[in-house]
């Protein structure tokens, strides 16, 4: 996939998002930055702090972190950015901070290229993870199962069954001139006051 497709979103929705959607040329993505065990661990802590879900096991976070590392090695520039970001986390003792302190640390980090790379990749990869879908109770592909017409599209039972037809006054309401409509509204408001 060409660079232009991957790079059409920058800023909050990071460039790297697109690397996670369309596979990059893996032959050129020789993993080097973030290859040490402690590098991956500290990055995974960052991913968990950004998107904390107490009930998620480590699997989705592990796969997301792998992806952050993979996309972070998509070019020499990115690899440098990733390794520098990891080294800074280590130098600042990020691995020793509790959840509150690590959240505070990330809040103060600012929207650096490294931060946006990790955050942008994580938000796409984590919530596109099939195990996460299951954990969140999302059923995914449904057409091959006949949709939800017999599988709960209307199974909510904690509210009354609502009307599905239009209100008989709708046509009159829509065709009433706005001037007249405003007059009526004003009359009602005055009556109520």
């Amino acid at each position: 996939m060409s660079i232009s497709r991957r790079s059409f979103l920058v800023g909050a929705f990071a460039t790297t998002v697109y690397a996670s959607l369309w596979s990059i040329d893996k032959s050129q993505a020789k993993i080097s930055a973030g290859s040490k065990k402690e590098d991956k661990e500290i990055l995974m802590k960052m991913v968990r702090t950004l998107y904390p879900h107490d009930r998620f096991p480590s699997g989705p976070y592990d796969r997301t972190t792998e992806d952050v590392i993979k996309k972070g090695n998509s070019s020499p520039d990115n690899a440098v950015m990733l390794q520098e970001g990891i080294d800074k986390l280590k130098a600042d003792g990020f691995d020793k901070l509790n959840f509150e302190k690590s959240t505070e640390y990330l809040e103060n980090m600012g929207r650096t290229k490294f931060f946006e790379h990790v955050r942008g990749t994580s938000t796409v990869t984590l919530y596109n993870d099939k195990e996460v879908w299951e954990l969140l109770g999302y059923e995914g592909y449904s057409s091959d199962k006949g949709g939800y017409i017999n599988r709960g599209f209307n199974d909510l039972d904690w509210l009354p069954e609502p009307r599905i037809e239009e209100h008989p006054d709708l046509a009159a309401f829509l065709s009433e001139s706005p001037k007249r409509y405003a007059e009526i509204k004003n009359m009602i408001a005055k009556e109520l006051n």
Partner: protein
């Protein structure tokens, strides 16, 4: 399929969505052969996938674009101002399905709202009365529920929350439509199986799209030469200044030329004005049909925003028809609310993949994950209302960025008008009240997505100096050049635009067919 010689001066339609797809059907049905040039592939139901990112990568228009202006989309999605489809059927592949008509005064906003500072309001040269027969035809083509005796869709879970909330806060005008997906079999398409996938293309074929209805029927007439992967880059003209051909890139990146006797531009509100500007020449230095200087101006994208709400009990809002919930109580113009125009509330659901990306672009942290963690308990709605046309909200050709063919990319400039901001704020408050009335424990004001409603950049006007096309969609300057898509809209109304684009295209198609038969063109 019919083959039309590239040297034969043909009726050429550029694009195959709600505008172009409808045009080719109207023309071929009337016995007029057409060439349709579509930039994307012909995706069939079996190609569609129930996977949000997968489908996005498969069909979204991802050619390079740039943005500017104070709208939040320019910050969150600077390279993706719109969310449109590049495939046969255009954005009808992806559209949700809401089919409200414009209201009578929404064709006359200048007269109704008066002067609004910074807004380039103008009355349309046509009225609701002119449009009514075409609205009926378009509703029958689309199969709009609640219209023409067609059944309403049943209440899905998201609608149950929405409708109960609406009732609690005193709204009356809620229903499961009008909606462009069959509740029961109609017109050769089956009833909905409530599979929950809409923006990804409907594998079941219950939803109307021109890829499902108009294009196959036009092909059946034996008069349509449909060329896919044909990306038009220039419209050429003769010495008299009339359009005489189009240049396009084929799928192997070879330049092709098709001679033309009539050209209909249906490329959506970004690509249509871009193509007219790219077609500049010594005779037309500012681009085709642009003597007014209005090509590309008055870009509108509707006031939008979403409200998601988390409840204590499960909703499972992803099951069922995505937008089959509709409330019209706030649509009437009522300046007492602090803004002109009005808006609709419509149910909306996203899967976790898109929710993660769009709930709060750039968002992270515990509050964010609380919403995501409560995914099963979420309900959601989209707020969509009229935005103010502004002369400087416009599509221009980039001076620096080039596309895959080396041509200037379109820049989409948009500044929110104070009216848009006031309406969005009001709409969020009302939506919050609606969900709180049914027990919401957390609500979220989601900012606008990349624009799905793109309107107004070749506006229709009575006088040539005020706009680009006349009341038939024919360019004021060039008699054999037409525009049939959302770009002709003089103002945008609150209504989701597909029904109106389709109705206008039927009207333009009938007119063009009759003019061609009378040899007036």
């Amino acid at each position: 399929m019919k083959k039309i010689d590239q040297k034969e001066s043909a009726v050429v339609v550029i694009g195959s969505g709600a505008g172009g797809g409808t045009m080719v059907y109207e023309l071929t049905k009337a016995g007029i052969p057409c060439v349709c040039l579509e930039a994307g592939p012909f995706l069939k139901p079996e190609d569609y996938t129930n996977d949000e990112w997968g489908a996005f990568g498969q069909m979204a228009w991802l050619d390079k674009r740039t943005t500017s202006g104070n709208w939040r989309v320019a910050k969150d999605f600077p390279g993706l101002p719109t969310w449109l489809v590049k495939a046969v059927g255009g954005t009808t592949t992806h559209w949700a399905g809401a089919t409200p008509r414009f209201l009578e005064y929404e064709f006359k906003t200048k007269s109704t709202y008066g002067d609004i500072k910074g807004a380039s309001l103008m009355d349309w040269p046509i009225s609701l009365k002119d449009m009514e027969p075409y609205y009926t035809k378009a509703e029958n083509a689309i199969g709009s529920t609640h219209r023409g005796g067609r059944a309403a869709l049943p209440a899905n879970n998201n609608y149950k929350v929405f409708a109960n909330g609406a009732k609690n806060v005193g709204y009356k005008f809620y229903a499961t439509g009008p909606y462009g997906t069959n509740a029961e079999p109609y017109d050769g398409r089956p009833g909905s199986i409530q599979d929950g996938f809409n923006f990804q293309g409907d594998k079941n074929g219950s939803k109307w799209s021109t890829a499902k209805r108009e294009i196959p029927r036009a092909l059946d007439t034996g008069l349509l030469d449909l060329r896919t992967h044909a990306h038009v880059i220039k419209i050429t003209h003769d010495k008299e200044g009339n359009a005489d051909g189009v240049l396009y890139m084929d799928k192997d990146n070879n330049l092709q030329k098709q001679a033309a006797k009539v050209v209909i531009v249906s490329g959506n509100s970004i690509e249509s004005p871009r193509l007219l500007m790219l077609s500049e020449s010594s005779m037309y230095p500012d681009g085709l049909a642009n003597s007014s200087g209005q090509v590309g101006r008055n870009y509108m994208r509707h006031m939008t925003g979403s409200m998601y709400a988390r409840f204590e009990k499960p909703v499972n809002f992803y099951r069922g028809e995505t937008m089959a919930g509709f409330c019209a109580d706030e649509v009437k113009h009522n300046p007492n609310r602090g803004f002109a125009g009005g808006y609709y509330m419509e149910t909306l659901a996203l899967g976790p993949a898109f929710m993660g990306a769009f709930l709060e672009p750039g968002g992270w942290g515990r509050e964010f994950t609380n919403m995501m963690d409560g995914y099963q308990n979420l309900a959601g709605m989209w707020l969509v209302g009229e935005d103010m046309p502004q002369s400087n909200n416009r599509i221009t050709l980039s001076k620096t960025e080039k596309d895959q063919y080396g041509l200037p990319v379109p820049n989409v400039h948009f500044d929110d008008h104070p009216n848009d901001v006031a309406m969005r704020e009001y709409a969020y408050e009302k939506a919050e009240a609606l969900y709180k009335s049914v027990g919401a424990v957390q609500t979220w004001r989601t900012p606008p997505y990349p624009s799905t409603h793109n309107l107004g950049t070749n506006r229709m006007s009575a006088k040539a100096k005020d706009g680009v096309v006349d009341k038939w969609g024919r360019s004021h300057d060039i008699k054999n050049l037409f525009v049939a898509d959302g770009s002709v809209m003089t103002t945008g109304a609150a209504a989701n635009p597909t029904l109106t684009i389709t109705a206008l295209a039927i009207r333009t198609g009938e007119y063009l067919a009759s003019e061609l038969k009378k040899n007036n063109i």
